[in-house]
Symmetry: C2
Subunit: 324 residues, 2 copies
C-alpha cells in the first residue's frame, strides 16, 4: 500500500525479533501473543510512525520502540475486542478467545499491553515523556471508543456525529498518535507535530470509512472477510446511519424491517440492504466524506517542508483507493 519496502521490512523484522524474544512460559500468556502477531496485519500504524519520523529527518532507530509499541498495543486491543464483540474469527483464523478461552484472552491481552509499554520504555530518554503522554492519551481514547461502540449497539438513536466521534477515538486516535510520535521522535517543532497529528487523525477517519465501504462494496477475495459482515451484525456504520438519515417512506420502512431481521437469509439481507444503499447513493456520500479527510490531510501536509513528502501523499491516496 505504497509504504516503502524498507519501512515495511524493518517493521516486520522488528516484530519478528520481538516474538522471538518472548519467553516460552507461562505459555498461556506468550503463545497467544505470537499467534496474534503472526496473523499478519498491515502494520499500518508502525509504518506510518517510522515514515513520518524519516520524512521529517529523524532517525529510524529512535522511532523503532514507539513503532513496535503501537503495533503491540493495537494487537492487545484486538484480543480484548474479540472477547467483548464475541468474534469467532480474526483474519480468517480463530480469535484468541475462541482458540484458547476467556481467561487466556484476558490475561495475555493484559500482558501484551504491558509489553507494549516495555517497548515504549526503550525510546530515547529525551523524547520519552512526550511520546509516553501521546501514547497514553491515545490508548485511553481507544478504550473510550470501544465502550461507545458497544453502547451504540443497543442505543436507539445514534447520529452520524456520534459515529464519527466514536471512530475518531476507536480508530483514528492510534493513527494520529503514530504520526504525532513520529514527528516528536524526529525532534521537529510543536507546530509540525500538531500538523502530523491532524494528518494522522484524517488518515484514521479515512481508513475506518473505507473499512465500512469495503465491508459492503469490496471483494471477499481481496478483503479476506465475508462481504456484508457489518450488515449481518446490524452494525451502525456510516453507511447505515446515512441511509437511515436519507431514506424516506417505503424505503425507510423496508430498511427498518431489515435491521435486526433474522427471518430472511443473511445473503438476502445483505443483498437488499446493499440495494437500498445503492438507490440512496450513500456510497457517493461516503466517498465525499473520505475525500474531505483526504483533502484535510493534504492541507495539513502542504506546509511541511521535506522532499520526502510525496511518499506520504501517495500513501494518503492509496488509503482512499485500497481494495483490502
Amino acid at each position: 500500500m505504497n509504504i516503502p519496502d524498507s519501512i515495511q521490512e524493518r517493521v516486520k523484522k522488528e516484530l519478528n525479533s520481538f516474538c522471538k524474544s518472548l519467553p516460552k512460559e507461562p505459555q498461556e500468556l506468550y503463545e497467544p501473543m505470537r499467534y496474534m502477531l503472526g496473523l499478519g496485519g498491515k502494520n499500518l500504524r508502525p509504518s506510518l510512525l517510522l515514515l513520518t519520523c524519516k520524512m521529517l529527518g529523524g532517525k529510524i532507530n529512535d522511532a523503532i520502540p514507539a513503532a513496535i509499541a503501537i503495533e503491540l498495543f493495537h494487537n492487545f486491543t484486538l484480543i480484548h475486542d474479540d472477547v467483548t464483540d464475541n468474534s469467532p474469527l480474526r483474519r480468517g483464523k480463530p480469535t484468541v478467545y475462541k482458540k484458547w478461552n476467556l481467561n487466556v484472552a484476558l490475561l495475555s491481552g493484559d500482558a501484551l499491553m504491558i509489553k507494549s509499554y516495555q517497548e515504549l520504555n526503550k525510546t530515547p530518554a529525551k523524547y520519552l515523556p512526550a511520546a509516553f503522554k501521546i501514547f497514553n492519551d491515545a490508548a485511553l481514547k481507544v478504550c473510550e471508543g470501544q465502550q461507545l461502540d458497544m453502547n451504540y449497539e443497543t442505543k436507539n438513536k445514534v447520529t452520524i456525529e456520534d459515529y464519527l466521534s466514536m471512530i475518531s477515538m476507536k480508530t483514528a486516535a492510534l493513527f494520529s498518535a503514530s504520526m504525532q510520535m513520529g514527528a516528536i521522535l524526529a525532534g521537529v517543532s510543536k507546530l509540525d507535530c500538531k500538523k502530523m497529528e491532524i494528518v494522522g487523525e484524517n488518515l484514521g477517519m479515512l481508513f475506518q470509512l473505507k473499512d465500512d465501504m469495503l465491508d459492503v462494496f469490496g471483494e471477499s477475495a481481496q478483503t479476506g472477510k465475508q462481504i456484508g459482515g457489518d450488515i449481518i451484525q446490524d452494525k451502525k456504520t456510516f453507511l447505515l446511519l446515512k441511509a437511515l438519515e436519507s431514506a424516506k417512506g417505503k424505503t425507510k420502512a423496508e430498511l427498518i424491517v431489515l435491521i435486526g431481521n433474522t427471518e430472511i437469509s443473511t445473503e438476502e439481507k445483505v443483498k437488499r440492504v446493499k440495494k437500498i444503499y445503492e438507490d440512496l447513493g450513500v456510497e457517493e456520500v461516503a466517498n465525499k466524506q473520505m475525500e474531505m479527510y483526504h483533502t484535510n490531510a493534504k492541507k495539513a501536509l502542504s506546509s511541511i517542508k521535506t522532499p520526502e513528502k510525496e511518499i506520504l501523499l501517495a500513501l494518503t491516496g492509496a488509503l482512499l483507493e485500497r481494495k483490502k
Copy 2:
C-alpha cells in the same frame, strides 16, 4: 498499620483527587474505577513507596505520581482477577464483574491500567525511564504470577517452591517495585535501590504468607473475609502444600479426601482441615518462614543510613503481627 498518618492521608487525598478528576462518560469505564477505589483497600503499596522515598531523603511530591500509579495498577489487577477467579465479592462488596458484567470489567480494567500509566507519566523526567522500567517489569511479573496461580488450580503436583515463586511474582513484585521506585525517586545509589528492592520483596512474601494464615487462623470480624475461604476453594496455599508435604498415613489420606470434597458442609470442611493444620504444626512452619522474610528485610535495611529507618522497621514488624 504503623504507617505514619501523614503518609496515609496523603495517599487517600491523592486517590480522592484522582477519582474526582475522572470524566463522567462513558460511565461504564469510569464508574467501576471510582467504585473499586472506593472499596477502601489498605493502600499499602503507595504508602511503602512514599515512605521509602521520604526515609531516603527524597521529596514526597516527586514520588506521588508513581505511588498513585502503583495503586491504580493494583486495582486494575483486582478487577481482572475477579473475572478469571469468578469471584463474587471483594472487600464484602460485589466485584465489578458481578455488579456490572464481563465486558465492563474487561474494558474498565484496561482503562484503569492505562490511567495508571498516565499517572506514572507525571514522574519528573529525570527519574521517568528508570521508574517506568521497574513498573513494567513488575507489572508483567504480576500477570505471569496470576497465570501460574490459575495453572496451579488444575496442576496435580505443585511444590512449595512453585508456590513461593508464584507469590513472589503475583504479590511481592509490586511491593518490591514500590520500594525500589521510592528509592529511585529519592535519587539514592544503585546499591541502596537494590537493598530497598530486597526489603520490598521480603515484605511482599511476608504479606502474602500472612494473608494465607489469616484466611485460616484470623478472625472474620477483623479480616472482613469468610474464614477458611482458601480451604473451601481448595487453594494450594503455603499451609495446604506444607500440610500435604508433612502429613503421613491416615492424616494424609484424610486431607486428600477433604480436598475437592463437596459432600460435606463447608463449615465441616474448614473445621477438619484446620484441625489437620494444627495437628501438623503448619502454623509454626509458616511463622518461621515469615520470620525469615522479616529477618531478610531487616538485614537489607541494616546498612541503610537514615534516622527515619525505625518507621520502616516498625512497619515490617506490624506486617508480621497484623490481624487484618
